[in-house]
């Protein structure tokens, strides 16, 4: 039987993968995906906790989070299109006009 710790372990692992993705990826699309992964890792943790506590609050929360994530992704992708039009690149390291 799986306990809460197993789920949490997976959630934290996924979260770590997401964070690492943000740190090492140069492609903005991959960055956005990594962030999604972080949110979903949190979702997994919430669901696991909700199940362990035997309440439904967490399940409802996850749906809200999914909506939020969708909104963020929509705005993010729209922005990627705009900046690609202007600069012909989605390499995040090239975007450093603003610094110091």
């Amino acid at each position: 039987m799986f306990g809460i710790t197993h789920f949490l372990f997976i959630a934290v692992l996924l979260f770590g993968v997401g964070v690492t993705g943000v740190l090492i990826s140069r492609n903005i699309i991959v960055l956005l995906m990594s962030v999604e992964l972080m949110l979903n890792a949190a979702n997994l943790a919430i669901i696991a906790f909700s199940r362990a506590l035997n309440v439904m609050d967490g399940h409802a929360f996850v749906f809200l989070v999914l909506t939020v994530a969708a909104a963020e992704a929509a705005v993010g992708l729209a922005m990627v299109i705009t900046i690609f039009n202007n600069r012909r690149s989605i390499n995040i390291d090239k975007y450093s006009l603003l610094k110091w």
């Binding site: 943000v22 993010g76 922005m79 603003l98």
Partner: protein, 482 residues
Amino acid sequence: MIDTTAASIDFSIIAPEIALLAAAFIILVSVYNKKMRNLAPVIATAGLLVSLLIAIEQMGNPKTGFFGMVTCDDFTVVFKILFVISSLLILMFGRRYFVSKNIDRPEFYALLCISTMGMMVMASTTDLVVIFLGLEIMSVPLYVMAGMDKRSLESNEAGIKYLIMGAFASGFLLMGIAFIFGSSGTTDLRRIAADFQFIGENYQLYFNAGAVLTLVGFAFKVAAVPFHSWVPDVYQGAPTPVTAFFSVGPKAAGFAALLRIFNFGFEDMEFISDIFWMLAVLTMTVGNILALRQGNIKRMLAYSSIAHAGYILVAFAVGGSAAMSAAVFYLFAYGLFNLGSFAIITQLEIRSGCKSELSELSGLSKAHPYLSAALTVFMLALAGFPPTVGFIGKFYLFTAAIDGGFIWLTIIGVLNSFISVYYYLRVVKVSFLEKFEGTFVPVKYTPAMMAVLLITLAGTLGLGIFPEKLLEISRAAIFAFL
């Protein structure tokens, strides 16, 4: 006391939010009508005004509803008023700028309303889930607003950086909420505060981790070091009125959430106070030191806003009602003079080819003596000079700190605010005491801009001399949930 389990679906509680949402919808629908397009600022203003009036009406009448998800006490109302006033002021001076840069689109006004609504949601709940939702409702429009000047490479960059960093921080926040939920079985701060017990072993650890991650999520929003790095870039790249918007409303909303969570929810966690201590010192110091050598005023003000967040964090480290009401007072005060300085920068940036570089200010006092006098007042307020409200705010904050026995924190804070004088006064020096050859292209005032300047100026000086009323209000806000 507030009934924590009130199930009633009482729409009067969220009427200010509804007014803003309605305004946003009307604007979005009317985009398709050429004539209606030009009415967008008017509709937004009307929505904000209605919202403001309803919010004032709610003062002194605490209510809760929606199964305990929404709470409207004086704390909520005070912050709602702060958000609406800052949005109104930005509406007033922003339009001209957008028109001159050819980016005046009706969607902006809808986004402004929605974002303001998100802040209100953040302030009007004791539930972590709703706080998270409010945060996102506030943030997503902000990302769009930062990047709204589609042709400007800087604005693009500001938008994408803000978006990715914002979503990144949201991930941490959500993880934090998950852990708090998991270790306490609830997301309602009132229940955590009232009858808190851990559900199982190891859960203390989960809870602490959750608290820290939540703190990180909001530290990002209020621009606390080391979660501040997006601030200078986004502030500099975004269109100036949008920057002004960033520096007041979202920041205050972040602090409102922090106040609720860490002073009401997790009241007696020793190590959180230590963390706030470290964050405050780091934030003040890094913000001020980095601001010293900036040549761009917007970027300088970005670092200055980091530093000011540091002063407010001092109150969090100290804790207690005096420090907390000082923080609320400071947020109001900072909103006033910061918006005033941004209004002036916006006014000057309308001249073509200007990028808010410090050097563009030279000759200002010859061409616009009153404008440069107003700028001086705002800079003095930012630096914390008497008799401006900036001084009262800082004084109140540091007195609370020393009363709480935080001597070193006070000394570091005072030292920092003296370092800050150097770069604020540089602005004054360039506009007054610098030789200028060539002609300074003068700018015309619009009545709205005039009104904004007068309001912020009157507030900065008036509240500096008669701070009584605002002090009472900020105390009322804090006593609402203590």
